[in-house]
């Protein structure tokens, strides 16, 4: 066994892996944000609240319908996605032509309302939710104990991220979407229902947030403020990756998870700040973000 900077290599490998796991949450959430910003030009500040709604939906589905984690993983994103579609139809569709600021303020207000309502009905302490039975326990990897659930989080998040990237960047549907963002009038002329496509895209982005929420419910505290704590970090991830860049969101999500994980070993007090330090540096050197296209 060897040491790196005074830390045993085993501990270091463990921390790297944990960083990747946390990174998978960042990647999932920033992916949704990037999709929404890239396709709709809306800075979706209610993303954190929608992540929280996903976790709450999982809890309610268990309480009132007795359905456990696996059904919730499908049903909760659909339900929350539908609320997203309603929001898009009612409010967001009127804002596309305005400055980004309007969309940001609207979604920020919505986030405060969602949080307030959740707090009113469920209190602030949180709700219990346990790891599904099939994923309890863990594997001894030699250098660390890896809970089965965390392994599943990494696998699921990678799959969803790659699938989303593939659909948007490599399929015909994705090409329509990207074209619709560039020039909606032209795409409409080809007989494609652009506004429906945009609505569904927002619903999908919101569903991704809810999916991350269900994934988080067994390991993080399910409370009304769970999203607002995370959303600022996720925004930093998106900015570093380049606003609207799908690949950027995924790669920086995982990468920053690892960097944050290492900070927790070497200088734990700074682990909340390190991402913002990186953000500041990236903005100075590459204002459009690591993967951003200069607009």
């Amino acid at each position: 066994m060897f040491e790196i900077f005074g830390i045993p290599s085993q501990a270091l490998f463990g921390q790297l892996l944990i960083g990747l796991i946390n990174g998978s949450f960042y990647a999932l959430l920033s992916l949704g944000l990037a999709v929404i910003f890239g396709m709709l030009n809306i800075i979706n500040f209610s993303h954190g609240a929608q992540y929280m709604m996903g976790a709450f939906a999982a809890y309610l589905i268990l309480q009132y319908f007795g359905l456990g984690y696996w059904p919730a993983l499908i049903i909760a994103p659909i339900i929350v996605g539908i609320t997203g579609i309603i929001i898009e139809r009612l409010f967001l569709q009127w804002l596309y032509k305005l400055d980004h600021l309007y969309g940001l303020l609207l979604t920020f207000g919505l986030a405060l309302i969602f949080e307030g309502v959740a707090r009113n009905y469920f209190g602030s302490a949180g709700l219990p939710y346990t790891v599904p039975e099939s994923l309890q326990g863990g594997q001894n990897l030699g250098f660390m104990f890896l809970p089965n659930y965390r392994a599943w989080v990494i696998a699921a998040s990678l799959t969803v991220c790659i699938a989303t990237w593939f659909v948007i960047e490599r399929t015909r549907l994705g090409a329509y979407l990207r074209a619709a963002t560039e020039n909606p009038t032209l795409v409409r002329a080809f007989g494609i229902n652009v506004s429906r496509m945009i609505t569904l895209t927002y619903g999908f982005g919101v569903a991704l947030a809810a999916f991350a929420g269900v994934m988080a419910a067994p390991i993080y505290n399910v409370s009304p403020q769970m999203g607002s704590e995370l959303i600022i970090v996720v925004f930093a991830v998106v900015v570093i990756g380049g606003m609207g860049s799908i690949l950027g969101a995924i790669v920086t999500g995982f990468g920053l998870g690892v960097i944050e994980g290492l900070t927790k070993v070497f200088f734990p007090e700074a682990s909340n700040t390190v991402i913002f330090v990186i953000m500041a540096i990236v903005l100075l050197v590459r204002p459009a973000g690591l993967f951003g296209r200069r607009g």
Partner: protein, 403 residues
């Protein structure tokens, strides 16, 4: 003769009337976190507890008239200070109660002292409030970091947990709790192997838990609160910390946290509290009334709520004795000179440094199978008598004690 008699009667009536109608007007403000992470341990539940205290007291003493207001300090010392100033100066509030969050409580304590009003702390934990930062206008009712450290720390060392690793929230409260617990552990013959300080409101503790695991300490002490504690306990279950033989010591865990964790995850956890809703019939009856007074139906009152109730009762007793409109220092001095006695904490006293002294209880969280009804969280492991539960005022470093 008849005339004289009549006059005497009139005089008697007047004298008696004057005595019984000597109206005492009191205004109380509940300052708490109404909408964020501490809203369940204090918040609207504290207002419900205050209403109960006022109803109970004015029923027997109709000449005491109490007005109640409440406010939200949003866990920000500047907002808390602003409300306290406004209440004491403009709204003529005599006494402020509750104030979870040690940062805000320390600020309000200073204001109460400057304006010579009364401040009763129920929600905040820092033992500094009755230590170096004590003053003659503040009473610290329910619990503090010294008592938590001593209760849980001692008990863990005595049952073999003599090596410790701390997960500490990186702000005043966490540091105080870690400092007090480390002292208690070392005094009892234990050893602190290491610590890691995490930022407030951390989501993922797995990295810190791995560090705790590799320290090989027998006890992992959680010097944090609220969501941080819940996340640490939830994730240590996931990482098999307890299964691998290490013990968790939740240094500040409320009934509401146990509720949020679920017994499945929280079972076996050792913790110290000064009041538990399901401990006896009196507490259960009070809880029922608390629910009717506005406590959320799905929740259980915490020791902080009980402290708000008991603190107000004792304050009103002092005001009744003093009559009129006394200064804050005089009212607190009266509170200290009278023994305390209320249905929830029983008989007790307030020390010279403002520390309220009562029994503390060491609990263990039940396994799901042992829990008979909703809210049946704890089994009692030990009662720590009042004289040992709280710090000796002489050791507190409070200037009031020596003068």
């Amino acid at each position: 003769m008849r005339k004289t008699l009549g006059l005497a009667a009139l005089a008697a009536v007047l004298a008696f009337g004057a005595a019984s109608a000597q109206q005492v007007n009191v205004k109380i403000g509940v300052l708490s976190d109404m909408s964020s992470l501490y809203a369940d341990i204090g918040g609207p539940g504290s207002v419900a507890a205050a209403k109960l205290a006022i109803a109970d007291f004015t029923k027997d003493h109709p000449n005491v008239k109490v007005e109640l207001i409440s406010g939200d300090h949003q866990n920000k010392p500047d907002i808390g200070s602003q409300i306290a100033n406004q209440w004491y100066d403009v709204d003529k509030v005599d006494m402020i109660i509750d104030v979870p969050n040690s940062g805000v409580a320390l600020a309000v304590s200073q204001i109460a002292s400057n304006k010579n009003k009364v401040f009763i702390v129920s929600g905040a934990a820092a033992s500094d409030l009755t230590g170096p930062k004590c003053n003659a206008n503040t009473v610290h009712w329910t619990y503090d970091t010294w008592m938590l450290a001593n209760g849980t720390g001692n008990a863990m060392v005595k049952t073999g947990g003599d090596t410790w690793f701390f997960l500490t929230a990186d702000y005043a409260f966490g540091h105080a709790l870690e400092r007090d617990t480390a002292a208690a552990v070392e005094k009892a013959g234990g050893k602190v192997l290491g610590k890691v300080r995490h930022p407030l409101n951390t989501n993922d503790f797995s990295s810190f838990l791995l560090q705790a695991q590799s320290s090989k300490a027998k006890v992992v002490g959680l010097a944090n609160a609220g969501g941080d504690t819940i996340n640490s306990i939830k994730q240590s279950a996931e990482f098999g910390i307890v299964k691998a033989g290490q013990k968790l010591a939740g240094l500040l865990v409320f009934a509401s946290d146990v509720n949020a964790l679920g017994l499945n995850t929280a079972q076996g956890l050792t913790l110290t509290e000064t009041w538990y809703w399901d401990a006896n019939d009196t507490n259960r009856a009070w809880t029922k009334r608390w629910h009717e007074a506005g406590g959320a139906a799905s929740k259980y009152p915490t020791m902080i709520h009980a402290g708000v109730y008991a603190g107000i009762l004792h304050y009103l007793k002092a005001r009744l004795e003093l009559g009129g409109d006394p200064e804050g220092k005089a009212a607190v001095a009266k509170m200290k000179s009278m023994p305390t006695d209320d249905p929830l904490f029983g008989k007790g006293a307030i020390d010279a440094n403002g520390r309220k002294r009562h029994d503390a209880f060491l609990f263990e969280v039940k396994a799901p199978a042992e829990s008979k009804h909703p809210g049946d969280f704890y089994k009692l492991k030990a009662t720590i008598p009042a004289k040992d539960a709280f710090r000796d005022p002489k050791e507190s470093g409070c200037p009031l004690v020596n003068s």
